[in-house]
């Protein structure tokens, strides 16, 4: 299951050069599809099998074993990993398929698929690893793949810059994660999930402070991967990569690794409310901030990127509130519709021949109906149109937030509302109104081939019905809460539950439920009407970044965070580097060393002055010598 993609990577990487493009493309797809099928089968075995088994563990070999430090190269396939695996491979398959068409005219196609496969492989290692180190493997691996894929068009210097930014920011997170891992090992003496959680459960750690520290360090890692404040700026830049990459890595899968990590470490987070609060508030801040920025972006992919960040923020809110199911639920649905949206935008860009500015578009619905339709569904889903997948998952998050703290609920609701605004803004500006691109005639715009639209359709369907995996309980006990049951499986007697502390199903009075729903829906409606009025009826066009005013300017410049970082970190770093190079290393240390040598030569000059060639002096020196000798020894 895991090594199929790796195989794909190797084959594509080595032989790809001599393979026909389509072949390498299909090969890449096939491998992922294969692992998807395998995943499904395993999943069946897991839950359908009798008796139900908690997890399938397989140990390949001992990776490192030094003294008391022992790490296995082992995998664990339990329900949580299963869900993630299904998302990854499933959506991965679709996106692979999509890319075959999307990338067909790029001569680096085989490389592209090699990287994609490598990414899937690392992602699988991440979610299937049976210990934290395996997770770290995948963690870094996916970071690397995103580096490679963002910088895929290596001729472009800016893309390279974006790629390095992404990798470095991830690395910052990784450092935190690594420290967290060390702390875990010091405290609990193992990396194996089951062992660690058992220890946590019986309370090996003397104080909750340790757990808080671990939790926070892990969360730093999560920040890096899942693009939370302050490490989120790489994600929008990462849109430099090919669109399928954006869909796969930066929407559907990789960015959710942070969520996975937190859910996985639930046992630890459960013990430290403080850490959870932090998680929640950061999630909240990120969500709102990103949503605001999204309002003023004109690059279709940038908008989606910020919406991703904002959605991730929502998920972290859920985690912070301890609603792990809700978070995972939203991960799933978000994977569906965000992938859909990205691929849709990809299709648009494809149709527009790599034009990404929405102000250059408009009225595309006539030209590309399928894209239009699917995109609409995606938009509706993400904005929480009732009874689409997004509706349920987001609603659940809101509910959990509400039970946790009404204030949080309010803010979350706002950010959810803003989602509506920017999404519809983009949607209308792109597909309605009149075509505004001048140096690229309207006739040229064309619908994408079947190979691209097919995944769109599939994903559209999924984002419609995706809510089914965890229907809220008020729709009837029987069908509801599938995911919830899945996660709160107690491990069948053996000690391997996924959630150490099974979360209580949130029981609100129906009135409250309805109230919340009403609020959510009303927000959605307002957003819809406002934007429709502005961009369709009035046919307004968003301003270019240059002529933004006031708040808009700030927003379109992303709160100047990048600039701030440059001033705060990059510049000092380079300054330090230069200082060390020129002053410390050259001036201080080296000249100190050379000074010794120079001193030697100076003395030498002095001595040769004494040796002035005049015999009389020599005799005098000799006699002085003799005199001193006698003086010291006789008197």
């Amino acid at each position: 299951m895991i090594f199929l993609p790796l195989m794909g990577f190797v084959v594509n990487g080595i032989l790809g050069k001599w393979m026909p493009k389509s072949l390498s493309g299909w090969l890449g797809t096939a491998t992922v599809l294969g692992s998807f099928v395998l995943a499904v089968m395993n999943f069946m075995e897991l839950s359908g099998g009798t008796p139900e088994i908690a997890s399938i563990n397989t140990k390949l070999f001992t990776f490192l074993s030094v003294g008391d430090f022992h790490v296995d190269f082992a995998f664990q396939f339990d329900r949580l990993s299963a869900v993630m695996t299904l998302i990854i491979t499933g959506i991965g398959t679709l996106i692979h398929m999509y890319s075959i068409a999307y990338m067909h005219d790029d001569d680096g196609l085989y490389k592209f698929f090699a990287y994609l496969n490598l990414f899937i492989f690392n992602m699988l290692v991440l979610v299937l690893g049976s210990n934290y180190l395996m997770l770290f493997f995948g963690w870094e691996g996916v970071g690397l793949c995103s580096y490679l894929l963002i910088g895929f068009w290596y001729k472009n210097v800016d893309f390279g810059k974006a790629a390095r930014k992404a990798f470095v920011m991830n690395r910052i997170g990784d450092l935190g994660l690594l420290m967290g891992l060390f702390l875990i090992y010091d405290t609990y003496g193992s990396f194996e999930y089951q062992e660690v959680f058992r220890q946590v459960f019986i309370g090996t750690a003397d104080s909750t402070a340790v757990n808080t520290a671990i939790a926070l360090l892990l969360f730093i890692g999560a920040m890096g991967k899942s693009a939370q404040i302050p490490l989120y700026t790489w994600l929008p830049d990462a849109m430099a990569g090919p669109t399928p990459v954006s869909a796969l890595i930066h929407a559907a899968t990789m960015v959710t690794a942070g969520i996975y990590l937190v859910i996985r470490s639930e046992a630890i987070y459960a013990l430290s409310p403080f850490a959870r609060e932090i998680v929640m508030w950061i999630g909240l801040a990120t969500s709102i901030m990103a949503a605001l920025i999204g309002l003023k972006q004109n690059d279709i992919k940038k908008v989606l990127a910020y919406s991703t960040v904002s959605q991730l923020g929502l998920m972290f809110i859920a985690l912070g509130c301890g609603a792990y199911t809700a978070a995972l639920f939203h991960v799933i649905t978000h994977a569906f519709f965000k992938a859909l949206l990205f691929l849709g935008s990809g299709s648009v860009i494809h149709g527009m021949h790599h034009e990404q500015d929405i102000r250059e578009m408009g009225g595309l619905r006539k030209k590309m109906p399928i894209t239009y339709l699917t995109f609409l569904i995606g938009t509706l889903a993400i904005t929480g149109f009732p009874f689409l997948s997004g509706f349920f998952s987001k609603d659940e998050i809101l509910v959990s937030a509400f039970t946790h703290n009404p204030l949080v609920f309010g803010l979350a609701l706002i950010s959810a509302g803003i989602t509506g605004f920017y999404m519809f803004r983009m949607f209308f500006v792109t597909f309605h109104g009149t075509y505004r691109n001048h140096h690229h005639p309207f006739e040229k715009v064309h619908e994408s081939p079947l190979l691209m639209t097919l995944p769109l359709l599939v994903l559209a369907v999924l984002s419609v019905v995706g809510g089914a995996v965890n229907l809220p309980h008020y729709l009837g006990e029987g069908i509801s809460g599938g995911l919830h049951h899945l996660l709160s499986y107690d491990g069948g007697g053996k000690f391997s539950p996924i959630l150490m502390y099974p979360e209580h199903v949130i029981e609100l009075s129906h009135t409250a439920e309805i109230g919340l729903l009403a609020m959510a829906v009303s927000v959605f409606v307002i957003a819809f009407l406002y934007t429709r009025n502005k961009y369709v009826v009035k046919g307004a066009v968003p301003e270019a970044d240059a002529d933004q005013q006031g708040m808009g300017k700030v927003l379109s410049n992303k709160f100047y965070v990048d600039e701030a970082y440059d001033v705060a970190f990059v510049a000092p770093l380079e300054g330090a580097s230069d200082t060390l190079t020129h002053y410390v290393d050259e001036k201080a240390i080296k000249s100190a060393v050379d000074g010794v040598g120079k001193g030697g030569f100076g003395l030498s000059k002095m001595l040769s002055k004494i040796q002035n060639g005049n015999i009389e002096y020599y005799l005098v020196y000799m006699v002085i010598g003799i005199a001193l000798l006698l003086a010291f020894n006789l008197f």
């Binding site: 000799m622 003799i626 000798l629």
Partner: protein, 461 residues
């Protein structure tokens, strides 16, 4: 004794047979006779042959001919032979010079085997007086004259100092024979409270000054650089090797007799040793001329050997022998390369070496071996010599050993100038070296002494 005999008579023959004649034939004769005397005394040392009758001529309290003496005689003769061999093509001066050089070698023999201060005095003078002449052998060359005069004046002066010391010793101990001399002071030292008479102390100091002058140890080394620079190359090498070794043997024999009152002279000798090491190495750093550099390096080596004086107890003389041998071989090697380079380029700055590596790599490699040996870097005779010396001296004079290590670190600074010029610098003038075979064989000796010293030491000691 046999060495003295053979050398002396062949010297006489040379002196009269080849007066003012071209030397090529005679130099070969000299070399042969020297190697013969080396071989013979080596044979004597290992009781393969013996010339008891010959040696019985000399009263036993004047000179002694033990194994040690024979070995040193062999060493001196061997090195001198090489000196004459390597420099036979040199400035074409009359054969009488060969004679003089061999006469002064006779003086060296006497210095290594004296039992009586008269013999030591005679040895020193027989060694020195011909050298005064040899130093000035380039009659027209002003530098040579100056060297000769300086050497003469200062040498005579130091002889005076030495003699005063001898007189004091004579007065203080009542004897001029080595084994007699030592008794009284050590006896006095043995019973506490009885101070060593001023005469003896002063005598030791003054005699030591005389010898320190000969070995060119600071602060009595001032003559060395100037005289080395001014003298003809052959004489310089002779002075740098033979004189030093002989003087050190004499010195250690003298101090050894006063071993009973070691603490009265060890302290200041240590100070002088350290001073010499630092002075020699530091002064060498800034030199432009190869000859002066080597002169100062020889001063530094004198400083290292002072360590030996401090640890000499009559049983570990082989260290001195080994050190002297490796040092002498290396200096002859480097000097003869420098000499040939000088013959062809005409200047004695390091630039003479420019681009040797390109023109004749073999010579460059040989040069590397020689210089590394002088710097004391393994695998070479020089390293082993230093290693023996330092490791033996460690317990007695750790600080001096420390200075020695520091000194050999400094020495790299000037020894590697050779490499700079030989490997980095370019030069367009033609160069070819004669006697490559000899050079290579010397280098091989050095490496052999470095790789398997114990085999060779077993052979001799």
């Amino acid at each position: 004794m046999i060495a003295l005999f053979v050398t002396f008579f062949s010297a006489v023959i040379l002196l009269f047979a080849g007066l003012n004649k071209k030397e090529s034939a005679f130099s070969l004769f000299a070399v042969v006779s020297l190697f013969v005397s080396a071989a013979l005394s080596f044979a004597c040392a290992n009781q393969m042959v013996s010339f008891g009758m010959l040696e019985s001529w000399v009263p036993a309290n004047m000179m002694s001919f033990g194994k040690e003496q024979h070995l040193f005689a062999a060493l001196l003769a061997f090195i001198t032979g090489f000196v004459i061999l390597m420099f036979r093509e040199n400035e074409n001066l009359g054969t009488d010079q060969l004679g003089l050089m061999m006469f002064s070698l006779c003086g060296a023999y006497m210095m290594v085997s004296y039992e009586h201060l008269v013999m030591l005095f005679l040895g020193i003078e027989v060694l020195s007086i011909p050298l005064f002449v040899l130093a000035g052998a380039n009659k027209q060359n002003l530098a040579s004259n100056e060297a000769s005069l300086k050497y003469f004046l200062m040498g005579a002066f130091s002889t005076g100092i030495f003699l005063l010391g001898t007189a004091f010793i004579y007065g203080g101990t009542g004897s001029l024979e080595l084994e007699m001399m030592g008794i009284k002071p050590s006896f006095m030292h043995a019973m506490k409270g009885m101070p060593i008479p001023v005469l003896i102390n002063a005598g030791i100091i003054l005699m030591s000054v005389g010898l320190l002058f000969k070995v060119a140890a600071a602060p009595f080394h001032f003559w060395a650089p100037d005289v080395y620079e001014g003298s003809p190359n052959r004489t310089t090498v002779f002075m740098a090797t033979i004189v030093k070794v002989a003087a050190f043997v004499a010195f250690y024999r003298l101090l050894n007799t006063f071993g009973g009152i070691k603490d009265s002279w060890a302290s200041w000798l240590t100070v002088l040793g350290g001073m010499t090491i630092l002075w020699g190495n530091l002064a060498a750093l800034g030199q432009k001329s190869v000859k002066r550099t080597l002169a100062f390096s020889s001063i530094a080596h004198a400083g290292y050997l002072v360590m030996f004086l401090l640890i000499a107890d009559g049983t570990n003389t082989w260290i001195l022998w080994f050190y002297g041998f490796s040092y002498a071989i290396a200096s002859v090697l480097v000097f003869s390369i420098a000499n040939q380079a000088y013959q062809q380029t005409g200047d004695f700055s390091f630039d003479a070496f420019n681009g040797i590596a390109k023109k004749c790599p073999i010579v460059a490699v040989v040069l590397v071996i020689g210089v590394l040996s002088m710097a004391g870097i393994p695998i070479s005779a020089g390293f082993n010599a230093k290693f023996y010396l330092f490791s033996f001296a460690w317990q007695h004079t750790p600080w001096l050993v420390g200075i020695g290590l520091l000194g050999s670190a400094i020495s790299v600074g000037y020894y590697f100038k050779f490499f700079k010029h030989a490997f980095l610098k370019e030069s367009n003038n033609e160069m070819q070296f004669v006697d490559r075979g000899l050079l290579i064989s010397l280098a091989l000796i050095i490496v052999a002494l470095g790789a398997m010293p114990w085999a060779i030491l077993n052979l001799v000691f």
